[in-house]
Amino acid sequence: MTYLPILIPVPLLLFAFIGTLAGLWRRSLAYGAALLGTAISLGVATAGLVVVLSEGNLHHFLGGWDPPWGIEYVLDPLSAFMAMLVTFIGLVVLIYSRQSLLHELPERVVPLYVLKLLLLAGLTGIAVTGDLFNLYVFLEIASLAAYALMAVGGRQSAMAAFRYVVLGTIGGTFYLLGVGFIYFSTGTLNMADAAQRLPALYESRAIMAAVAFIVLGLGLKMALFPLHVWLPDAYTYAPSAVAGLIAPIMTKVFAYALVRMFLTVFQPDYFRVTLPVTDIIGWLSAAGIVIASILAIAQRDLRRMLAYSSVAQVAYIGLGIGLANPLGMIGALLHILNHAFMKACLFLIAGGIRFRTGLVDIPLFAGFGRLMPWTMAAFTMAALSMVGIPPACGFFSKWYLVLAGLDAGNWVFVAVILISSLLNAVYFFRVLEQVYIRPLREGVAEEQVREPPAEMLAPILVLAAGIIILGIINVVIVTQVLYPVTEPLR
């Protein structure tokens, strides 16, 4: 059983290269390799979650070297949860991407599948590793794959990706610098071992600097307001199937890494009492939620609107971390899950509309509700969830965040969540109004406006159904998986 943690990223890595070889022989085989690798990984992650919940944490020591000398891979409820989320969204978006990529970038399908697998390998690796430096390695694998994936969309996407390269590299470097400080203060890179040694050094300036660097670096990577400037352009100009993969999971995994630092590597009190880290994250996030939501209202391009909405939603996660109480952490982690489903669904729909009509501007979507009923029903579902209407899952994470705000007596945060729900309603109902109420625009060819092919529609509907299902079973997820995670906060 102890081999389960390593078997999550390894199939993705190996199939990336099997896919390269197969793709050189027959282009279409790369897709099969990508699908198979992700499916195996999802299976292992699911098995891992089940085993971890019934039998406790799993540890795997790479190369047979015991920690703290060797690299340790740990599967606990939180990392298994993240790995399963990443691989599930990865699999769904991969199924979607075959038609989408053949349409948008027929020449480059093989490298794109390979890069997607490497991205997923990096992200699952961040989830399962128990080593600070190994986390950096996976962070770079994921980031490099993401830079390349985002850059292939065309001239504008290359520019946007370059900006992301610069800021992302700064983020990665800051994280590494922080890890370096921890290493020369404690002499260890193993997370569990560092957690043992760090409390004695909490007064040390080197450790304080390490915290500042790590939080700033991961903040850049997770696009925490106001470090989000790279995100809107990068998401807008990336190919649909890429934006659909990166937007839902990438920033979330870095949020997970931040939670890991907060709960596992350092003691929570160091972040919320000794240093005002959670306060800073919380207040910046609160500002980010409102400002990014308002910016989202101002956008014409659907993809850009969704990108700004992503900034706001990541800030929700930041807000939950910033509240630093058990309910806030549950809200933040549940929102990682819920938002992944919602944002994947929305980006895939934006890609689906673009696939059929080539349109991206919201005013041109007038009258599409009648012509693409299933797609638009899924859009409505995701939009209602984003606004936070039960029983869609988006309601529950906001509910926990509001409860956490009340618990902490922080009325400003409660107000921010409620106001932002209204702002969400404004920018999503603006789209719904165009889609369902306005008549079709002149100049939009009616025969082009139809449902995307089944291969693209099915993932959209699966995610839309997932939004409802997650809403219904959220109690199970919270009590079984997330509640134990918040143990250090109680």
């Binding site: 102890t2 390593i6 890595l13 099997i18 390269t20 050189l24 020591f61 790479l62 047979g64």
Partner: protein, 144 residues
């Protein structure tokens, strides 16, 4: 357009040097696990020999020696070799990358780890070779 620099001197020198460079690369690769060197360094030297051919002989002739697609395939094969060397000990009851559990008959203990790391170094060398040549081919590829 990017073309080779046509000169008989450059060509002859290149033809003489390349075999020596490659032999030296093999030396560096196979000595990596108990001396200075290893898969990364050796792989780069090996790649440099093929890049020298591409620079001196021009695309068509050099591509016969190592076609661009073969370079990519070698790179992928190298990384796969590394990954599978990690996976095999796990199936034999050890941990991932635990060379002490490689099921190779006739060797055990330190010697087995020695063989394991050698296989990994060879994998790395292929990987680096593929990537270096791949990057070069990509950069000089004619814009269509």
């Amino acid at each position: 357009m990017i073309t080779r620099y046509e000169s008989p001197i450059v060509e002859v020198v290149c033809r003489v040097i390349v075999p020596f460079v490659q032999v030296f690369a093999l030396y560096v690769i196979t000595h990596g696990h108990y001396g200075p060197g290893g898969g990364f360094q050796g792989g780069v030297i090996l790649a440099a020999s093929f890049l020298l051919l591409r620079l001196c002989l021009g695309g068509e002739l050099a591509h016969q020696k190592l076609p661009p697609r073969l370079a990519i395939a070698l790179g992928a094969f190298g990384v796969l070799l590394y990954g599978l060397t990690g996976l095999v000990p796990m199936m034999a009851g050890g941990q991932y990358l635990d060379y002490g559990h490689l099921p190779i008959p006739g060797v055990s203990g330190a010697e087995l780890r020695y063989v394991g790391i050698l296989i990994v170094e060879i994998g790395i060398a292929f990987g680096v070779l593929g990537i270096m040549v791949g990057i070069f081919d990509n950069l000089v590829e004619r814009q269509s």
